[in-house]
């Protein structure tokens, strides 16, 4: 079986400056993959380019289809969905409308199921369904952004820093939900600075530094890697420990 998303030898440049240099990655079905790395490593750039927001050089395939000729809307229709770093909610519209628009591309009958699913994943959104998106707390906005993306029943959900600026207890909640997505048949590509939390729920991980992947492998192995531990997890391993 071929990968759900495959990115091969991708270069992304802002003018003359190459932000991403020859990156390849794969996400299989029912898999949670995380990209960790410091601020400015190019993680967000990569996600935006895969979504079609930024132009890239190289090949990207999704569900067996070359995405070169597809624009953002086609990619959404194909089942690829991005929850961007800034969430990009419809701030002056209420929660329910935001979610309804998330199901813009799918038939009305299916949308009813999506509502149920999203409300069961995020009961908070159901309580606030008549509230304007812009007045929600940061954590609720993140839930709404994820909920809106899930409304369209995507095959692959790309999450850009879902924990950014959120209280630890809410972060735990969000990560638990990401873990639950796999059971619902949604694959996840997760970009995070909170490496510890990301590695705990991911199957595989890539480590990005200055626009390149310097390391990749099973999440457990990456978590135990000395260099990763020192740079991203904030502690040194005392010798090698088995996982």
């Amino acid at each position: 079986m071929s990968a759900l998303l495959s990115v091969s030898d991708v270069h992304i440049a802002y003018g003359k400056v190459e932000a991403i240099r020859g990156v390849s990655l794969e996400v299989n079905e029912n898999e949670i993959v995380t990209i960790i790395g410091a601020n400015g490593a190019g993680k967000t750039t990569l996600l935006n380019a895969v979504m079609g927001i930024l132009p890239l050089k190289g090949r990207t395939d999704f569900a067996g289809q070359d995405m070169a000729a597809l624009d953002i809307e086609d990619r959404v229709a194909a089942g690829l969905c991005l929850v961007p770093e800034h969430r990009e909610l419809f701030a002056t519209m209420n929660v329910e409308d935001n979610l309804q628009l998330g199901a813009f591309r799918i038939p009305k009958a299916t949308a009813a199921n999506s509502f149920e699913r999203v409300y069961s994943l995020f009961p908070r959104l159901k309580e606030r369904r008549k509230q304007l998106a812009g007045t929600l707390s940061g954590g609720e906005q993140q839930m709404l952004a994820m909920g809106r993306a899930l409304m369209g029943a995507p095959k692959l959900l790309m999450l850009d820093e879902p924990s950014l600026g959120l209280a630890p207890i809410i972060v735990a909640d969000i990560f638990r939900t990401i873990g639950e997505l796999r059971a619902a048949g949604v694959s996840v590509l997760l970009v995070e600075q909170n490496a510890q939390a990301a590695l705990r729920i991911a199957d595989r991980a890539y480590v990005m530094e200055l626009g390149e992947f310097v390391l990749s492998g099973a999440a457990g192995d990456i978590a135990n890697n000395q260099r990763v531990a020192a740079s991203y997890l904030g502690f040194q391993h005392e010798g090698e420990s088995a996982v």
């Binding site: 953002i72 809307e73 959404v76 002056t92 519209m93 628009l101 998330g102 993306a149």
Partner: protein
């Protein structure tokens, strides 16, 4: 001044204000969705009004052919853009929207036009023609540059206005036209006389405002348009095509413009270039509404209409000056009250 004159002026002002309200709403709608300041809104007014007036005399207006010609150009553009991934459904849609629709409208116009055609049919034909022109105007002039700055879009908009105005001269001639009234009923209440036409103006304006409110509040398409206005990237990320939103916005704006024109052409003689001034007054209302607020725009439009009525009574030479001066205190107030807005990023 006695009360009767005041009432007359108020009535006049509200009738005109209702028209400006419609135009202002269309301007806000188009700006919110596409960031285009729609200068050619006035041309939609004249095209609607004069097409209707010509149809009423039994002639076929040149706008019907213009719609077909613009459709052909739009078709070419659609095919060119999609040249890398041409599939049957896409081509079929382009043929239906760009070729069949305007051609059908044009043929229908030729078939139905005559001195005995009922008013309702003439109105429907005029609306269809202008709607097609509005739709293709977006497709041809604005869709290819939709991502550029507000300034570029504004300049394109001025270009469209000039082009359409010139074409208006070709189609309708330099002579003004008047159209038949929608109804000849007249009611008298005290010293005021309400003609059927002015009642139609009020009725349709209110109906349109309610319809727009329902459309944006409850239909998925309306919500998608609002979403595009609130957050373009967010809208694209849920799969809303901003090009489609733009086309719908222009379609609505041209329809609203044409209806306004049809409503006023029985009251005042319209020339090929009258629309611009009418559109500008709607624009003042839209500016007072900050180009975002529909209710504020509607209220401001009534104010503009009333000020216009009173100034044409007291200082008719300065009528336009006074109306357009309204914008100055508003701009000053807004620039003092509003926090500094950064230039758009993209």
């Amino acid at each position: 001044m006695n009360t009767t004159i005041m009432l007359f002026l108020l009535q006049d002002g509200i009738t005109n204000g209702a028209i400006y309200a419609l135009l202002g709403l269309a301007l806000v709608l188009v700006f919110a969705v596409t960031r285009v300041i729609l200068i050619p809104q006035g041309e939609f007014v004249t095209y609607g009004a004069l097409s209707y007036a010509m149809l009423a005399t039994g002639q076929v207006p040149g706008t019907a052919k213009l719609a077909v010609a613009m459709g052909l150009v739009a078709f070419g553009l659609d095919l060119f853009v999609a040249r890398k991934s041409l599939h049957a459904r896409l081509v079929a849609r382009a043929v239906a929207v760009d070729i069949v629709f305007p051609l059908a409208v044009c043929l229908l116009t030729y078939a139905l036009a005559g001195p005995k055609t009922p008013i309702a049919v003439n109105i429907a034909l005029a609306l269809l023609i202008v709607a097609a022109i509005g739709l293709f105007l977006y497709r041809i002039a604005f869709q290819p540059i939709a991502h550029t700055s507000v300034l570029v879009l504004l300049i394109a908009s001025v270009g469209c206005h000039l082009a359409l105005q010139g074409l208006g001269l070709v189609f309708f001639g330099a002579e003004g036209l008047r159209g038949p009234a929608l109804s000849n009923v007249a009611l008298t209440a005290g010293s005021l006389r309400f003609t059927g036409q002015s009642l139609a103006v009020y009725g349709l304006t209110i109906a349109f405002i309610v319809a727009l409110w329902l459309f944006f509040g409850y239909s998925l398409t309306g919500k998608a348009l609002r979403a595009t206005a609130v957050n373009r990237l967010g809208a694209r990320l849920v799969g809303i095509r901003t090009t489609l939103s733009g086309q719908i916005a222009f379609l609505l704006a041209s329809l609203i413009g044409a209806i306004s024109g049809i409503l006023i052409v029985p009251i005042t003689t319209l020339y090929y270039d009258t629309g611009f001034l009418i559109g500008l007054k709607g624009f003042i209302a839209a500016i007072i509404g900050g180009l975002v607020s529909y209710p504020l725009t509607a209220v401001a439009a009534i104010l503009v209409g009333t000020v216009e009525a009173f100034s044409s009574f007291y200082a008719s030479n300065f009528k336009e000056v006074i109306v357009f001066t309204l914008i100055l205190p508003v701009l000053v107030l807004r620039s003092l009250a509003a926090p500094e807005v950064e230039e758009e990023k993209d």
